[in-house]
């Protein structure tokens, strides 16, 4: 492992890798600080800039953006009570009261240092767990692989916002979209409407840009011009509250481990990690009464957890090829554009990719902390960029990015169609994450499903005789059923109360 980590460190001999790390971090802060733009949209928008780049350089930039966007979301949550990302909502519960008490600088410093600590600890856990996980996954046959993809999809569909039934429909839409094109095994054109441009399937990057970025433009149009936010004085920034931070070390460590564990579960993500860690810290705190009124422990717990979830989400992506969050699903798309297929073989075929990701997360910590602290005043002002300007910039990059992906107009048409479709689906509360995940995993899922049947001479018992497959399929069924049942129970209770 140490030899492989040395490969990761050696990648930083290339100045372009450093450039990607710093640029990704800056872009991540910028996107994270703007309410409404999250890491998923940021990563989707950055993909067009990675065309033609070395895969190592591009993945470092994308991971830096992902991590920094989670950092950046906290800044506006603390200063103006407007979380830049959903994962920073719990941070605002204590961060903003601290700002109102004139302790904004202290809250920012604690949040940024906790985020850094969270990433550092979780990357250590990532290194320790991802390699054995990938080695274990090498023993999987096609039946287990199919079941594993089903687990990933069902967890994302079941845990996504809104109704699990709609998550299931979204999964069906994504899998159906993944079947468009030539059948991999027989070469038969499927659902191509006779158009040869569909033979290679739907172009992934334009679909991602449309669903995540262009649909957001329509939401911005709905919101209209933004009002200028009141600027907040940031006193005490860079005056490190060493004693306070040392007192938070247990909460930070606990939240980092918890955040990582939650991040590993596909569909759970950074927001759930921060809410759970916040609740656990409140329960175990010596001063629970301070939570919600300006507790540094609350800020530290939420931030350490949501940043740890970033590394957690990368574990199934790198080790199993199963994305743990919408952002990592988009990242898989970026890797596929470069001809790289994440999964257990990645560690043997292209070890420079996973190990450079590990090392970049560690090296990125001090860089991101420095950028975060030094630029706090700037990031706070970013939320004041007029919404019409953001809408125009996002739309412009989408069109150029879609065209540049194939230098033809076909991806531009696809992106526009998916932009409008994404807007309609979001209005109907149909989650986008299962669509993206299903689109990314669809081919792998179908191929393994068919391989499993062929390897078992067409007999279906392969899906209920292998213990591992049975366990995975049971997890998938529970992931669909449990959230649905709990929603039904909540609804009945609500109806009974009326």
């Amino acid at each position: 492992m140490f030899e492989s980590l040395a490969i990761g460190f050696s990648a930083f001999g290339d100045p372009m890798v450093w450039f990607a790390l710093v640029f990704g971090a800056l872009a991540g802060y910028l996107i994270g600080a703007i309410p409404g733009l999250g890491p998923s949209l940021g990563v989707a928008l950055l993909i067009p800039f990675t065309y033609g780049m070395d895969p190592v350089v591009s993945i470092v930039g994308l991971v830096a953006l992902y991590a920094a966007a989670e950092y950046g979301g906290a800044i506006t949550a603390i200063l103006i009570n407007s979380p830049g990302t959903a994962a920073a909502v719990a941070t605002s519960w204590d961060g903003y009261p601290l700002t109102q008490q004139g302790r904004a600088g202290e809250a920012l410093t604690v949040s940024i240092l906790s985020s850094g600590a969270g990433i550092f600890v979780s990357t250590l856990l990532l290194v320790i767990t991802a390699v054995p996980l990938s080695e274990f996954a090498l023993r999987f046959g096609p039946g287990e692989y199919f079941a594993l993809a089903l687990v990933g999809l069902s967890l994302v569909a079941g845990l996504s916002d809104g109704s699990p039934l709609k998550g299931t429909v979204a999964m069906g839409i994504g899998l159906a979209l993944a079947t468009i094109g030539l059948d991999v095994q027989t070469g038969t054109p499927r659902f191509t409407m006779g158009n040869p441009e569909f033979f290679e399937g739907l172009p992934l990057v334009p679909v991602l840009l449309g669903l995540y970025a262009l649909s957001e433009v329509l939401f911005m149009i709905e919101d209209g011009p933004s009002e200028k936010l009141k600027s907040t004085p940031i006193g005490g920034l860079l005056a490190l509250p060493v004693k306070a931070i040392l007192g938070l070390k247990t909460a930070i460590l606990r939240s980092s481990v918890l955040g990582y564990a939650i991040g590993v579960i596909p569909g759970a993500g950074a927001s759930i990690a921060s809410f759970v860690s916040y609740a656990v810290s409140k329960r175990l705190s010596k001063t629970p009464e301070k939570f919600g009124k300006g507790s540094l422990e609350g800020v530290a717990s939420s931030e350490a957890a949501n940043n740890s979830a970033v590394a957690g989400a990368l574990a199934p992506l790198l080790a199993l090829g199963i994305p743990g969050s919408p952002t990592t699903a988009i990242m898989i798309g970026a890797l596929m554009v470069q001809g790289i297929q994440p999964g257990p073989l990645l560690f043997t075929k292209s070890p420079e990719i996973p190990y450079t990701v590990f090392v970049s997360l560690w090296i990125g910590v001090p860089i991101m902390v420095l950028i975060g602290l030094a630029g706090a005043r700037i990031w706070a002002r970013v939320a004041n960029i007029p919404r019409p300007a953001i809408a125009a910039i996002v739309a412009g990059i989408c069109y150029v990015g879609a065209y540049a992906s194939h230098t033809t107009m076909f991806p531009v048409h696809v992106m526009t169609a998916f932009g409008v479709l994404g807007y309609i689906l979001r209005k109907l509360e149909i989650p986008l994450a299962p669509i993206i995940l299903a689109l990314v995993l669809g081919e792998m899922m179908e191929t393994n499903f068919r391989r499993a049947l062929i390897s078992n001479k067409g007999e279906w018992d392969i899906f209920y005789t292998s213990p591992m497959t049975v366990i995975l399929i049971l997890i998938a069924i529970l992931a669909f059923a449990l959230p649905g049942l709990s929603q039904l129970r909540a609804r009945r209770a609500k109806a009974a109360a009326l």
Binding site: G172, L175, I221, P388, A392, V400, A404, I424, R491
Partner: protein, 166 residues
């Protein structure tokens, strides 16, 4: 608390269009049922496998279509239950609907004329119009942002990444 019966159907005001989510769910389900029924029919029409132990090109899509059709029907049933339920329904609002519609038109136009117009003129023109649709009225912003965006795209895509843009 709003009377659920009033929640059915559409309410139209000049600045906002509102509809109840269960009703919209039913409309969405009808559209998806039509799409997936068509998908199912096409999947069934795909050639049978040459190898008897394979399920062929249409096997997986057929299974998928059946599963998704069941899920769509379940969503529709749940929408009907919510309509009949005394629990207040969720509303879906589209604010500034005319501007949203105009922007959809702009996006479609841009996707048609992007190549004919050329990247920079297209970006300049549509960025200006998008900002206008989003409510920006300050002339300096309306002119400055599209030019800055155009310059950024030219420098990054044309010069740095050497992408052959129209």
């Amino acid at each position: 608390m709003e009377d659920y019966k009033k929640a059915l159907g559409w309410r139209l005001r000049w600045d906002v269009v509102r509809g109840s989510l269960p009703v919209l769910d039913l409309i969405g389900c009808a559209a998806l049922l039509a799409v997936f029924w068509q998908y199912y029919a096409q999947a069934r029409a795909l050639p049978a496998p040459l190898n008897q132990i394979d399920i062929g090109a249409g096997g997986f899509p057929t299974l998928l279509a059946v599963a998704t059709l069941i899920a769509i029907v379940a969503v529709a049933v749940s929408a009907v239950v919510r309509v009949l339920d005394p629990v207040p329904v969720t509303w879906v609002s589209v604010r500034r609907p005319l501007y949203v519609l105009a922007t959809v038109g702009l996006l479609v136009l841009q996707s048609i004329y992007f190549e004919q117009l050329g990247t920079l003129p297209s970006v300049l023109m549509f960025a200006f119009l998008t900002m206008l649709a989003c409510g920006e009225r300050r002339p300096l912003h309306l002119i400055g942002v599209p030019f800055a965006l155009g310059a950024f795209i030219y420098v990054v895509f044309n010069l740095a990444l050497a992408v052959n843009l129209p």
